[in-house]
């Protein structure tokens, strides 16, 4: 896999940006500036960044409730995303969506989803369109382990398989759906075994190794693009933070958390890039500084942006026409 230095650095930057963005979100959630709850992507950065960079810009993604990382990797304007979390009118969804519904049509991002597994049939529908339009576009469909036990997963993956649709199913197996471990929710250890039920390629990979993610996803994307049908990739990873704001994490041990943190996807990639002479301490510092500024600017934008007007509640229910009162 020969990647340009530029691309490798971009991927590294994306990972840092995700982590720093999420740290800020964590802060503002716990301080009440962001209302409701949110699901942080910290610890899983290698998957979104590796996968999305393995595809082309014209390709699409569908995302999840834990979706900030996917959106950043796909190129969302983080000012707008942060403003959305703050419920501001300048947000990605004009404040109507919040964290669970970040979307970005400019970057071919079909949006996050508050329903576990809810985005999978939609991704398959998008892939059906791509196939009918013969435009060579591929859809990356992200979800986590919990979603694999939704009926929607089953129906949609089967349809994608039967019709050879250009979609890559990427399971971010972060070992838990909320408090429920994969051991409790599945009777299989290797979730990629589910691919056999649909006769599509299935592979389990180390989701904390960005280059592994990149390579495997790229292969799957190219196969899909050549009309070779869908694949299932299960990337093993871990969410460092609680499931959401109010999670006391009583269902897992500190040791387990520690072990996974030692396998930090960013630190691992950093080591690689250092070894390749692409990164050094100075460069890392520069990058971090740049990203800090970018994230700070997003926060500032979000904070300074106005809330929507009350009357905006009636907009966007229908494309045309009015809401009945």
């Amino acid at each position: 896999m020969e990647l340009s230095e530029e691309k490798l650095l971009k991927m590294y930057q994306d990972m840092i940006e995700i982590r720093e963005f999420e740290r800020k979100v964590d802060y503002f959630i716990s301080h009440g500036d962001i209302t409701g709850t949110t699901h942080l992507y910290i610890g899983e950065e290698a998957i979104a960044v590796g996968a999305i960079n393995a595809a082309e810009e014209k390709d699409y993604i569908s995302s999840t409730h834990r979706g900030h990382g996917h959106s950043i990797a796909k190129g969302v304007n983080i000012k707008e995303m942060m403003a959305e979390l703050f419920g501001k009118t300048t947000g990605s969804c004009k404040g109507k969506g919040g964290s669970l519904h970040i979307v970005d049509s400019d970057t071919n991002n079909l949006g996050a989803n508050g329903i576990v597994g809810g985005g999978i049939p939609i991704a398959v529908g998008a892939a059906l369109a791509a196939k009918m339009q013969e435009n060579g576009e591929v859809i990356l469909c992200f979800f986590s382990d919990g979603a694999m036990n939704q009926g929607a997963f089953h129906e949609a993956v089967n349809m994608a398989s039967v019709w050879d649709l250009p979609v890559v199913f990427i399971c971010e197996n972060n070992q838990y759906g909320m408090s429920t471990s994969v051991e409790k929710a599945f009777n299989i250890q290797d979730l990629s075994a589910r691919a056999k039920a649909y006769n599509i390629p299935g592979v389990k990979i180390d989701g904390n190794k960005i280059m592994e993610v990149y390579e495997v996803v790229q292969e799957a994307v190219e196969r899909a693009r050549q009309d070779g049908g869908p694949s299932l990739i299960v990337a093993e990873t871990y969410r460092w933070k609680g499931h959401s704001k109010s999670d006391a994490k009583v269902y897992r041990t500190k040791e387990e958390e520690k072990a996974w943190k030692e396998r930090d996807p960013i630190a691992q990639f950093e080591e690689e890039l250092k070894a390749q002479g692409i990164l050094d301490e100075q460069k890392i510092e520069d990058i971090r500084e740049e990203i800090d500024e970018k994230v700070e600017a997003a926060v500032k934008f979000a904070q300074e942006s106005p809330f929507p007007d009350k009357e905006d509640i009636y907009d966007d229910v229908y494309v045309d026409g009015e809401v009945e009162l």
């Binding site: 699409y60 947000g91 990605s92 969804c93 004009k94 404040g95 109507k96 969506g97 519904h101 979307v103 970005d104 049509s105 079909l110 949006g111 989803n113 508050g114 329903i115 809810g118 999978i120 049939p121 939609i122 991704a123 398959v124 529908g125 998008a126 892939a127 059906l128 369109a129 791509a130 009918m132 339009q133 009926g151 929607a152 129906e155 949609a156 089967n158 349809m159 039967v162 907009d315 966007d316 229910v317 229908y318 494309v319 045309d320 026409g321 009015e322 809401v323 009945e324």
Partner: protein, 324 residues
């Protein structure tokens, strides 16, 4: 003018729209070689091929999701639920996804798909006979169309396919066999325009879907007794043409609402409430009656099923009740 059946009307609308716009395609169970459980898509596979008349596995959530997803990418899917009762399986995609995408995404995307589904009692037991329009009517973001005649079926389905929002298109199994005049020429019918199917002065019968035919027959009977009923068919439930309803009820001072769905929580209650909350309230001379299916599942036995479905006789009785 030529007469065709409801079944043919739907078929023609699909055919014409598929000819007009190559982005229109059909997706559903057994809609291809089988022609659909009710023969509605007969011949379309031959004409348009498997790509555009796509048979699916028995996966209603998958079908609805495919429609939502494809619609986001510029396609114009027309998905079929073989029976309306099966929206229960697809309802996350309908209610939480399709209906809300435009709104929760702040207008960034829209989902212009149509979901066609036959409703209504027709000798098939509790799980194949429901009229569940109230469930869709409640969900902001959906448009809900429920036509009666072949003319309305054709014109409104064409409008539905061209609409930029998710449209729930509810057919009635018994409407497939009803005949009516339909011009050869192209036409569409705008949403939100009720149709006065019969003009009258003494009271307004607001009836939906197949109940329109029964209401019209009841009105003929009533005419013999010197009672002049107006029969108003809303045709689209969302948007609902309250203006015409209010106008009619203000004129007649009396109303009955007729639908086949269960009374409790049916759309009839909402229509009553909207009338009561309008200027028509001040013209009301009597309570508004609802003549509807009872609050029971739909039973199988022909004797019980025909007791379930609001009959001409029950409509007449309901009308006479409020005229006393």
């Amino acid at each position: 003018m030529r007469e065709i059946t409801g079944r043919q009307a739907v078929n023609e609308a699909l055919r014409e729209e598929m000819e007009r716009d190559e982005n229109v395609f059909l997706i559903g169970e057994d809609i291809g070689i089988y022609g659909g459980a009710f023969g509605v898509t007969n011949g379309l596979l031959d004409k348009f091929g498997e790509k555009r008349v796509r048979d699916t596995p028995i996966s209603e959530a998958g079908i609805a999701g495919a429609a939502v997803g494809a619609s986001l990418m510029g396609m114009r899917p027309v998905a079929e639920m073989m029976f309306m009762d099966f929206i229960t399986i697809a309802s996350d995609q309908i209610i939480n996804q399709g209906a809300k995408i435009h709104y929760m995404f702040g207008g960034q995307m829209n989902a212009p798909f149509v979901l066609r589904m036959p409703a209504g009692a027709a000798a098939a037991g509790a799980q194949h006979t429901q009229s569940l329009e109230a469930l869709l009517y409640h969900i902001p973001g959906l448009k809900v169309v429920m036509p009666s005649t072949p003319y309305d079926l054709k014109g409104l389905l064409k409008t539905s396919i061209r609409d930029d929002n998710p449209v729930m298109f509810i057919e009635h199994k018994k409407g497939y066999g009803e005949k009516g005049e339909v011009p050869e020429e192209e036409y569409t019918i705008p949403f939100g325009q009720a149709d006065i199917k019969r003009e009258g002065e003494d009271l307004t019968i607001i009836a939906t879907s197949h109940m329109v035919f029964k209401a019209l027959k009841a009105a003929e009977e009533l005419a013999k007794q010197g009672i002049d009923a107006e029969v108003l068919d809303p045709r689209t439930l969302v948007p609902l043409d309250m203006e015409s309803i209010v106008k009619s009820v203000s004129k007649t001072g009396r109303a009955v609402v007729v639908h086949e769905a269960h009374r409790r929580g049916g759309i009839g209650g909402d229509i009553v409430a909207r009338i009561v909350d309008s200027e028509a309230f001040y013209y009301l001379e009597t309570p508004i009656k609802r003549i509807t299916g009872p609050n029971t599942p739909v039973p199988f036995s022909p004797v019980l099923e025909s007791e379930f479905i609001p009959s001409e006789e029950k409509i007449i009785k309901g009308v006479l009740d409020i005229l006393d």
